[in-house]
Homo-oligomer: 433 residues x 2
């Protein structure tokens, strides 16, 4: 549902203006005009007086959250099998589960659960790995489109080092599958966009990377993958790509490392200095996934470095390396992990602040989608309304304090409604409370 | 409510038999006889055939969880003000909040929220700091007694280095207050026990420690305090106690470090080797508080060492250094932090396993209360029944897998009912769901 011209939400409004500044506007108005934010006001300007004002009472209103890295087929085993490091975890838990998505019925059942969860969450935008299966990926895209969420979805490409039955026969077959998937989904969706998705270097032959480069040259599609998550993985990449100077360079040499086409690399835990420079030069987005990096014993990415360098950083739940789908939780995890890194690894890199974590989970990741993740004038209107009245407290709290508490304490019970590009896509009622 | 002779719960039963072994009994019976567990059976033995069998269907039944370290007055500001290290955090956030508990009305309002939360949680036993206020502490004890939870509560003792208005005038006044509190609460409770609570060395003069020792000699009361949480704190203790060889030794020299009287020390992040030996020799319980140690940038305690040394270790939420009251969450945090410690600090200390974390959150901490925290024959009957049907999944899961998921994903919505010493103290209904 979208009001013809526009509408106004009234409540306690919080948003980022850059990574250092959190703007807090108690009892204010945020204006949506044809899906675009027209600013936040203490008094509603005359020009918007004809707009319907939806009074959210004492609720908090924040920009929709952005999950820059998650795996839809892994939702099924979130919170399970967390006793292994990345490469063993892939072979033991992940690949066997992903094989099931060859079955369209299973895919529909499992993806329905994932999308329902995402819909009830505070996320309005997500960048998602599916599996290599075309049919399953289309089912996921259909469900996402129906949800009203705005997403990128990738049919995974992988032609080596996986399991029998979960890898494409060769580079040509893999490329053909991508082309078929793009053809079959072309023009089908309004809010669901394709993204090229080589799983990671160990799963993709040089020939497959060359095919994807060729597809990207023709389509201009964005790309997502994994980078520098685990020491064992990094060493393997060095063996697989002996002519590359780093993991990043392996993507760069394939022509698939940012530049003209928007690119997300998840993790970036163990980057060399030269890789940070390359990421900056190529404008690659980093999806920071602190919970996953903890669960798989990968380490803690130097987010302070990334922020100080001015890199583009958003947050990823990385389900099911991460067990939580919540990007609020990803903000809390980001702060917590940065504190441990400061204490245990490098006291020169100060912990991430609340302002910075909030920025990364909203406008930081949102930048991958355009002007998304803030209530600054001109941003697409994604908003989440929180009723925190059940998070009891005996003392008075400021709006800033209430926002901090939400980040640490809220779950989907506190989410009252959610808007994507001005459309109301979720509203809590007794049934789904 | 307690059945006259006994009763039986039927469901999927999970409990620890030592720190390495998780016993999983699908569709089995656990017998409670006059508050004591009489074992778990696949078929109900004839001798218990007259007992009422409460069929919990497909629910999971686990021993009640034990929170070995938490601060009731800090519940008010959980999830707030997490930008500081311990000593600044105490002065900026904690002490000002604790001062409010001089007001009995405020104490009642705030403690009611805390106790309601604890009642709806999976915790059946807790060891709790109040404040230094006698009246407020009695209000907390009254509320806890009415809840049916089984707890230790400490009126805090502190006579130096706090804020004007939040420290006792001198050691004699502090000791007098403890004696008055003990006198006024003597014989008043069945499930709520007093515990001596010197806040920590920096807050307690040598004279106050001597007074508490004298009280302990007369009463035999147990004791709780904080130990080796933060490097700045440890250095301060060394300055305050120049004749002690370590933080532990400062308590030991005061005669308040285990031995005959059960003692809990929270944190133990930065212990010297000699302190680990002393803890072992004196049988001191360690309350491991991973979330708090992360939030206050304290570090990660070497839990693997503690377990391998055979020390007594339980888990603490340490609200509000920790923002979550959940001991399931403390189990997950324990595993996660141990993985980061393995990766970043000491690869010789393997991560904590699910079995070990579950043990610490049940029988490990439960040992402070006696035979508590397991369904082995002879243990006090504390049980929590979980309905995990709303944690959707498309595939079949074993009971072991469902338990793992609960640890990572459950919140109080999954808690169906809770028993303490055979008494049903909480049952979910539509109103409190």
């Amino acid at each position: 549902m979208q009001e013809k011209n526009g509408f106004v939400l009234r409540g306690n409004i919080c948003y980022s203006d850059g990574s250092k500044k959190l703007v807090i506007c108690p009892k204010s108005y945020v204006v949506c005009q044809e899906g675009i934010c027209r600013g936040v006001y203490q008094e509603l300007p005359k020009e918007y007086e004809s707009y319907i004002v939806k009074d959210m009472g004492d609720a908090l209103i924040i920009p929709g959250l952005v999950d820059l890295h998650t795996h839809a087929p892994q939702y099924a085993f979130r919170g399970l099998g967390m006793d292994l490091e990345l490469l063993d975890w892939l072979n033991t838990h992940t690949f066997p589960e992903e094989m099931k998505y060859a079955d369209a019925d299973y895919a529909k059942k499992a993806y329905t659960m994932f999308v329902e969860d995402l819909k009830k969450s505070a996320v309005t935008r997500a960048v998602i790995f599916a599996t290599l299966h075309i049919e399953g990926t289309k089912i996921l895209m259909d469900l996402l489109e129906a949800s009203g969420l705005d997403t990128y979805v990738g049919k995974v490409s992988m032609d080596r080092n996986a399991l029998e039955g979960l890898q494409e026969e060769n580079a040509e077959a893999a490329a053909k599958a991508v082309r078929q998937w793009l053809l079959e989904t072309e023009g089908r969706y309004e809010h669901t966009k394709p993204i090229l998705t080589p799983r990671f270097i160990p799963s993709c032959s040089d020939a497959l990377m060359a095919e994807l480069k060729s597809i990207q040259e023709k389509t201009g599609l964005p790309l997502q993958s994994h980078l520098s998550e685990n020491p064992g993985e990094i060493q393997w990449v060095q063996e697989l790509c002996p002519n590359s100077s780093s993991y990043s360079d392996a993507y760069y040499q394939a022509g698939l490392f940012g530049g003209d086409c928007p690119t997300i690399m998840a993790h970036c835990v163990w980057l060399k200095e030269e890789e940070i420079s390359l990421i900056k030069k190529q404008g690659v987005f980093i999806a920071h996934c602190p919970q996953s990096n903890t669960n798989l014993s990968s380490g803690i990415a130097p987010v302070r470095r990334f922020l100080d360098e001015g890199l583009s950083v958003g947050l990823g739940s990385d389900v099911a390396g991460g067990y939580s789908t919540s990007v609020l939780r990803a903000m809390a995890d980001t702060i917590q992990c940065s504190k441990l890194r400061w204490r245990l690894v490098d006291a020169k890199q100060k912990p991430v602040t609340l302002e910075e974590a909030f920025y990364m989970g909203t406008a930081g990741g949102g930048a991958f989608f355009g002007k998304v993740g803030s209530f600054l004038e001109g941003y697409e209107f994604d908003a989440v309304v929180f009723d925190d009245s059940e998070l009891l407290h005996p003392q008075e709290l400021s709006v800033r304090e209430r926002l901090e508490r939400l980040i640490y304490l809220a779950d989907d019970r506190q989410i009252k409604s959610k808007f994507v590009k001005g459309n109301l896509i979720y509203e809590k009622n007794e049934k789904n409370s």
